[in-house]
């Protein structure tokens, strides 16, 4: 096990070094391929180790390097860590397969080398964060993860959009590290050790404080609203294989941290559960509402990541609440549901990001309004995207449904509680949850419909080609997993060792398959003659793609319903030729969404910092008199202080 795990790490490091060496000696493209193959081998080794640990329940512990007796890099794979390592490994495996062809797409040779080098480093750092045995190692690899992903986000660094994303990402990720630092130092201050298990020895009041710091730290990385703003920017700006990894895996690492610290180590209090529940519900609902409005394909997916992280956090919150009241069945249901959804989201979100990446690469745009008709040009990608869409919309029998139903079922456990206030809160949460599920389905009807159906809306979309095989195989594995995890969810959960009242999807899927087969068969049997002709266009001679249903049109009713949240500003300016305002010169119409969090939360905070910095820098830049005045005031204050306290 030791050889397997450490060998895997070594292979990943080798894969990281290889492109850098070839960058120095100007070796060709072959080095990319070799590096990616080595990465695949390394990931396979580590994933195998994790799977062995997960299924046999073996505890794998290993000291790698001791900086000082106190600060050590050591790893520990227990069941929870092994689960997350396996998840990272699996998704990363598919993402690397996808990268074989994707990386060649880039224009600048140098950057391809850097991308190939950083990819294994990023994967390795994510694995090590989860495997880390103490807080020092965790924070160390956490920072490596942040920095390597920052450079990956900055791949297209010339674009203004990427620069904005980079700044947002960097600041927010540092903020999250800062809060983790606070929590860890707090633990160290009280226990004198960096052991994760030692966190439990904190006094109760300090535990709550540590929880808040950990929640903000991990919540920022997970993209919970209101710490989410970096997520849509960074995910849309980075290369698609990286977005798949970031959204699919990196967010889950924050979930791992939350699980590890709040449930495994600390004894959660009731109000922690409500904090998780409220933030989770808000993220889930607002995430999907923002996604509906989004017409940038990758941003849309990024907002769905926020939504799904919200679902997972709701599951964790429910676990805390039910556990507090001693309701074991709903508690286990929600925890297993949350972890299962973590796995499922990692799989279908990276699948969606990869297929979206193929689409973006084929059409050269991220705006879905300029796509369309791709189902004929890229049929395999379309099917894969459809499977991902169905999974994320929680349609049975796919995996998204399997995990969301667990959280729904555990919600129903609320009726066993005898506290009416909590019951009401839970029912409101349940309603919001149901709303979120419906809206998610709506959103993916829009995404799939506008991107793949109808006729191409732009020249580029008309010229799109099917993605190369590597970019199909990676997502295809994930799509297959989506189906398997959905159909056999009951059996899998049983095999892992949980007896939970979840519906068995196998008969359902067989039934569904049968119905479909019968339906198709009947259609074939009683075939009605079909006449193919032009759609009636109200008498217009030739119809153009511009007359198609648009994404804006599709989401308009929902935008109107949630006007309060979007705060859409519609401006319509007209100029006239004559004073009587009868002949229009030209018209300008604009629909803009009010970016609540950016304009009301982030920017004011940033401006506050800028202003205080400007204030201080203005005080720095003064003439001699003022400097001496400062010195004078300081001396006098020191005198007064000394007089008072010495």
């Amino acid at each position: 096990m030791e050889i397997l795990f450490l060998g895997g790490c070594a292979l990943l490091l080798l894969a990281c070094a290889l492109p850098l060496v070839s960058l120095l000696f100007k070796l060709g493209k072959a080095s990319h391929r070799i590096a990616l193959f080595i990465t695949l081998a390394g990931i396979s080794c580590i994933t195998t180790t994790a799977l062995i640990c997960f299924f046999t329940g073996a505890d794998y512990q290993q000291l790698i390097y001791a900086l000082t007796p106190e600060l050590t890099f050591s790893i520990h794979l227990d069941k929870l860590a092994a689960f997350f390592v396996a998840l990272i490994g699996f998704v990363a495996f598919c993402a690397v397969i996808y990268s074989f062809n994707y990386i060649e797409h880039g224009a600048i040779e140098k950057r391809k080398h850097v991308l190939t080098a950083l990819l294994p480093l990023f994967i390795l750092s994510m694995i090590m964060v989860v495997a880390a045995d103490n807080m020092f190692a965790l924070l160390f690899f956490w920072e490596i993860m942040s920095i390597s992903s920052f450079f990956l986000v900055m791949y297209d660094r010339e674009k203004a959009e990427t620069q904005k994303a980079g700044i947002f990402y960097f600041v927010m990720t540092q903020l999250s590290t800062f809060f983790l630092f606070i929590a860890f130092l707090l633990v160290y201050r009280y226990t004198g050790t960096f052991d994760i298990e030692a966190t439990d020895a904190l006094p109760q009041a300090v535990k709550s404080f540590a929880f808040i710091a950990l929640f903000i730290g991990f919540g920022t990385k997970a993209g919970l609203i209101p710490f989410h703003k970096w997520l849509p920017y960074a995910h849309s700006a980075s290369p698609s294989n990286i977005s798949a990894l970031m959204s699919g895996v990196m967010l889950k690492i924050a979930i791992y941290g939350l699980c590890r610290f709040t449930f495994d180590v600390l004894q959660p209090e009731l109000w922690w559960g409500f904090v998780l529940l409220v933030f989770g519900t808000v993220s889930a609902v607002l995430g999907v509402i923002y996604a509906l409005k989004e017409h940038d394909l990758k941003k849309l997916l990024a907002y769905h990541s926020i939504e799904n992280i919200g679902i997972i956090v709701v599951g964790l919150g429910l676990y805390v609440i039910f556990n507090h009241y001693g309701l074991q069945t709903p508690a286990n249901l929600s925890l297993v549901g949350a972890l299962f959804h973590t796995l499922n989201h990692a799989i279908f979100k990276s699948l969606l990001f990869m297929t979206a990446g193929s689409v973006v690469q084929a059409t050269g745009t991220r705006n879905i309004e300029e796509m369309g008709g791709l189902v004929k040009k890229m049929p395999v990608t379309a099917v894969l995207f459809l499977i991902g869409s169905c999974a994320i919309s929680a349609l049975p029998p796919l995996n998204g449904f399997a995990s969301e139903i667990m959280i729904f079922l555990s919600y129903l456990g609320a009726f066993e509680l005898d506290n009416p206030v909590i019951e009401i809160v839970m029912v409101i949460g349940l309603a919001a949850f149901a709303l979120m599920s419906a809206l998610a389905a709506t959103c993916f009807v829009k995404a799939f419909g506008i991107v793949f159906l109808a006729k191409p809306r732009s020249k580029e979309a008309g010229k799109a080609m099917e993605a190369p095989p590597g970019m199909l195989v990676g997502p295809a594995i994930l799509a297959l997993t989506c189906i398997v995890l959905g159909v056999f969810s009951f059996q899998i959960i049983k095999a892992v060792g949980y007896e939970l009242p979840v519906p068995d999807m196998l008969p359902v899927s067989i039934l569904l398959l049968l119905i479909t087969a019968i339906f198709v068969g009947l259609l074939k049997l009683f075939r009605v003659p079909v006449r193919i002709g032009e759609t009636w266009g109200c008498g217009i001679q030739k119809q153009t793609p511009a007359m198609e249903y648009t994404a804006t049109g599709f989401s308009e009713p929902i935008v109107t319903i949630f006007k309060l949240i979007y705060r859409t500003k519609k401006t319509n300016e007209k100029e006239y030729f004559d004073p009587a305002k009868s002949i229009t010169k030209h018209t300008k119409a604009k629909i803009a969404t009010f970016q609540f969090f950016e304009e009301r939360v982030y920017m004011p905070l940033a401006n506050l910092f800028m202003k205080s910095a400007a204030f201080i820098s203005e005080k720095h830049n003064k003439d001699l008199e003022t400097f001496i005045l400062y010195a004078f005031i300081t001396v006098v204050l020191l005198l007064v202080a000394a007089g008072l306290w010495l």
Binding site: D623, L624, T626, I628, F632, V636, L639, V640, G643
Partner: protein, 225 residues
């Protein structure tokens, strides 16, 4: 040897005179009388050193007295007067942050603060109230010198501020901590350097540091808008 009571009376009288000259330095607008007041203040310090020498008999004090007399009461004021003759301005009317009246009020408050501070931290160590008072007035003189530096605009007046600060240090060292003679000597050399430098600045850049600051800005060290 002088009677102890007379000795302490003399020292007290000299303290009052020093405070008076310090107040005049803060408020005086005419440059030439400012130099004269500085000369008087330095002279009082020299006298004080001689009185202490007669009381203690430490030869160091005599040297300090002679040095102060030669450099601070004669040479520096003479030099300043000669600089003044070539300067277009004879009076310093510009004040920043503090007007002369408020400077006086603040320095009075400071005197109390410093006194409280000293009695608090050093009251038990120095039983002799004379030594304590010497330290208090020395520190206050340093602070008043600082006030002169930041509240006056002309470079030449600022120089007087620095010189007053040094007088405060000298007064402090006379009573509280005996400085070796060599350090006192080096400080005097520093004073002369300050004088030369400020004369250069005063002539080169029209006797006000503000313009010097602007020139720095133009060099792009920092652009204010």
């Amino acid at each position: 040897m002088i009677d102890t009571i007379i000795f302490s009376d003399i020292i007290h009288g000299l303290f009052v005179l020093i405070l008076g000259t310090a107040a005049l330095i803060i408020t005086q607008r005419s440059l030439s009388s400012l130099f004269n007041i500085y000369a008087v203040q330095s002279f009082i310090l020299a006298v004080m050193a001689i009185v202490l020498f007669i009381e203690n008999g430490t030869l160091n004090l005599l040297f300090i007295a002679l040095l102060t007399l030669a450099v601070k009461t004669i040479f520096i004021p003479l030099f300043l007067h000669r600089v003044l003759k070539r300067m277009p301005v004879k009076r310093d009317l510009q004040f920043s942050f503090l007007s002369p009246a408020s400077s006086i009020i603040i320095s009075t408050i400071l005197l109390f603060v410093v006194y409280l501070f000293f009695t608090n931290i050093a009251g038990e160590v120095f039983n002799d109230s004379l030594i304590l008072l010497g330290g208090v007035i020395g520190i206050s003189l340093i602070l008043m010198g600082m006030m002169v530096i930041f509240s006056r605009k002309r470079v030449i007046t600022k120089t007087i501020g620095y010189l007053t600060m040094e007088n405060g240090v000298l007064l402090f060292s006379l009573f509280m901590a005996e400085m070796p003679f060599i350090i006192e000597f080096l400080i005097v050399i520093d004073l002369l350097m300050i004088l030369v430098l400020s004369a250069v600045l005063a002539f080169g850049i029209d006797s006000s540091l503000e313009e010097f600051h602007k020139k720095l800005n133009r060099l792009g060290i920092w652009v204010e808008d």
